[in-house]
């Protein structure tokens, strides 16, 4: 049930844009609208996924732990649509243009690196992978912080002058990372 609610909430931004297209028409630059919306929500949903563990620890909401995966996969879904919009719709699968973007534009490299990491996380998000990887699974899935950081950097490098939206994301990510470090620092010393 809670998974269904979270998936429905995660789909709302996409539905809102679809509704706007249906009611107001596509507007001047619908490809840009789709690109921006999917990019922003990919990052935001990954940040939401990262917020689950701190919330669980600080408020004792043990039941929300499984939502980490649901939110992370929802973020990956947006990232996938974002990648498809960029490569197929925006660049028209023009191979040279895609290669040029990937090799010459740091913001594209950062975005592609973030997507690659999210793909690895999505592919190893099953119970079978958790069993197979054992302790290594936890280490592997820490790269979600790297993916989120790359997402924030990707956003920063695209901006012309108004950094406010990217700063909000950066502060949220720093806060989530800080909460995790705070938790580790408070744990009694233990032998590894």
């Amino acid at each position: 049930m809670k998974h269904t609610i979270v998936v429905a909430l995660a789909a709302l931004p996409a539905l809102a844009l679809a509704l706007r297209f249906a009611l107001e028409g596509l507007g001047a630059n619908p490809i840009e609208d789709v690109t921006h919306l999917t990019g922003e929500w990919a990052l935001r949903l990954v940040l939401c996924s990262l917020a689950i563990t701190p919330l669980r620890r600080f408020f004792g909401w043990s039941g929300i732990a499984p939502l980490r995966r649901t939110l992370g996969l929802a973020g990956f879904a947006y990232a996938f649509v974002h990648l498809v919009t960029w490569s197929i719709i925006d660049l028209g699968l023009d191979f040279d243009a895609i290669v040029e973007d990937l090799t010459e534009r740091p913001y594209v490299m950062a975005g592609m690196a973030a997507f690659t990491l999210l793909s690895i996380l999505a592919a190893t998000s099953t119970r079978a992978s958790m069993r197979r990887l054992g302790k290594r699974w936890v280490k592997l899935h820490r790269i979600v912080y790297v993916a989120a950081a790359l997402g924030v950097v990707h956003h920063f490098w695209l901006i012309k002058a108004d950094y406010r939206p990217a700063i909000v994301h950066a502060v949220l990510l720093a806060g989530l990372l800080g909460a995790r470090l705070l938790w580790i620092a408070r744990q009694p010393a233990r032998s590894v």
Partner: protein
């Protein structure tokens, strides 16, 4: 261009017609500027399919070399998708927020290296000129473009009236500063006022105009009412909006985006598919309303007219 004898208008008739056109245009501009602000607010809040500002009468159709054949971008797209950071940094912000701009009364200060400086009411500034419709390409530095039927007057004709001195080598422009009317100025996203500039030969080039309308009607607030610059061979940010000052100088002026990030936005900012923005490609562009991107043309397709202005210059360094 060849003109048949039968098409040549008798000079006395021509002059009288010019006079009629001029008076008609003036009445329309005056009327639009004095128009009731309430109506302006309603239309700015949600851009309609068709213009609702005052229609400009007696507008001369410019010669073919000032009118590109490409299909015009829809009025709705041109008025609902653009950059005008004075009203917010989103593309839809100007249409949503520009209704607070008051364009009447409006004066423009013309000063610096001119023999005849002063603060000139907009009506007076326009009174001696005939409005022309020019259909230009506009290419944004963000790699989107549109085709706009502007209505305006050549900047060179205006400057001449104020008698530039021999020291006048550059022309710079400033946008209004008033955070109450321009809520985007409450944040210092850019160092207000917005400033732009041209070399004097660029400013007096026949393609360069001061525009007061588009699509047959007075300029919508979100597109730079009541008077803006249009320099079609340069990236859109050079075409400064809602101008309150025109300054002639011997030294090159500072310009807003160049101050913001000099390595990304040069003083010249000529459209050039061969010189990429440091962060994105300028080789192609998306024309608003089109699905596939198209190739960007050198000098935005105006190379025959303007490439000579930059003869001998390294356009890679003078981007």
């Amino acid at each position: 261009m060849r003109i048949r004898e039968s098409e040549v208008t008798d000079e006395s008739l021509f002059l009288s017609r010019r006079e009629v056109l001029r008076l008609g245009a003036m009445a329309a501009i005056g009327g639009s500027l004095a128009g009731c602000p309430g109506a302006g607010e309603a239309e700015a809040a949600s851009p309609k399919e068709a213009p609702s500002n005052a229609k400009l009468e007696g507008v001369l159709e410019a010669p073919p070399r000032f009118r590109v054949d490409d299909e015009r971008t829809s009025y709705k797209d041109v008025t609902s998708y653009n950059n005008f950071y004075e009203f917010g940094t989103g593309k839809r912000d100007p249409a949503a927020n520009a209704h607070t701009l008051r364009t009447d009364p409006w004066s423009v200060v013309i000063d610096g290296e001119v023999g005849n400086p002063g603060s000139v009411p907009l009506e007076t500034l326009l009174a001696k000129h005939t409005l022309e419709e020019r259909i230009y390409r506009l290419r944004c530095v963000e790699a989107w473009s549109m085709i706009v039927p502007w209505i305006g007057i050549p900047l060179g004709d205006v400057l001449k009236r104020f008698e530039p001195t021999s020291k006048a080598r550059y022309v710079s422009f400033e946008t209004l500063v008033d955070p109450e009317q321009m809520p985007g100025q409450k944040r210092s996203v850019l160092d207000w006022p917005y400033r732009e500039g041209l070399r004097i030969d660029e400013a007096t080039h026949p393609l360069t105009i001061l525009a007061v309308g588009m699509y047959g009607h007075a300029m919508p607030n979100q597109n730079g009412a009541p008077i803006r610059l249009v320099v079609p061979w340069k990236y859109g940010f050079k075409s400064i909006k809602s101008i309150v000052r025109i300054h002639l100088s011997e030294k090159a002026p500072n310009t807003s985006w160049n101050d913001q990030a000099a390595d990304e936005y040069g003083f010249y900012a000529n459209v050039n598919p061969a010189v990429d923005h440091p962060r994105w490609s300028q080789a192609r562009e998306r024309r608003l309303g089109e699905f596939r991107k198209r190739k960007t043309l050198p000098f935005n397709g105006y190379g025959d007219e303007v490439a000579g202005l930059y003869a001998g210059m390294d356009l890679r360094r003078n981007y």
